[in-house]
Symmetry: C2
Subunit: 137 residues, 2 copies
């Protein structure tokens, strides 16, 4: 009903009609990925219980797992104090442990800053759990 | 040295020279807040070991805790697969439990979507730990 629209309108969509979204794994607390949603994506996420994002590169809705089968079941949708960032608590399905990253890794945040003698660098800290070539056919 | 510049240049700053940053509490795994960094903010974060963000509303560097005393000690800086989102693992100091939100709450993500009979709504799920009027003087 009209109330469905109201909660969607409380979100402060940016000038492109989007908000940032943080997906956190419910079981482990790991931050899995960062993405964007438009109004339609958020509504479909709530309706289906599965994470639906808006792909800025493809300029369309992106049903997480539509190609990989690595669907995210959404336990909670949270919004921040400024009404302009969302957080999802999800169960990452399709592989054990879950694969959220398109590189075949558990989380997208696998590059760790390391301040060595030669200066700073980004070090890869997580293994590829599945070859992306076999995930995206 | 030049290598210090190199790791900063590997970050894909957006057209405004910023990247999104997710701050997660090291001890609890709680996502505390979401903010932005420019190149200078990231460099100062790494140099000082304390979270320094870029305030888009004030258009300047924002040393987290500069007014509140609620400084974030940075344990890790992580970067995502696309080189355009950062994640900090932090210890939220200044209060026990930590207060990251300007509303005086632990986390900024205290509004939970609830799908009731009357339609969807955002429900406040976390208490104010300290009156903001006493935090920001």
């Amino acid at each position: 009903m009209s109330n469905r629209v109201e909660w969607l309108s409380q979100v402060r969509w940016d000038s492109s009609g989007l908000v940032p979204v943080i997906a956190q794994e419910a079981g482990t607390g790991d931050v899995l990925m960062f993405a964007w949603m438009d109004r339609d994506a958020l509504q479909k996420t709530v309706e289906t219980g599965r994470a639906v994002y808006f792909s800025r590169s493809r300029n369309k809705l992106w049903f997480k797992g539509e190609e990989s089968g690595h669907v995210q079941l959404v336990q909670e949708v949270r919004m921040d104090c400024d009404y302009d960032v969302l957080q999802l608590m999800v169960t990452q399905t399709g592989h054990e442990p879950g694969i959220a990253c398109h590189t075949g890794r558990h989380s997208c945040f696998f590059q760790l800053f390391s301040d060595g003698a030669a200066g700073g660098e980004w070090k890869i800290t997580a293994p590829v759990l599945k070859d992306p070539a076999t995930i995206y056919k």
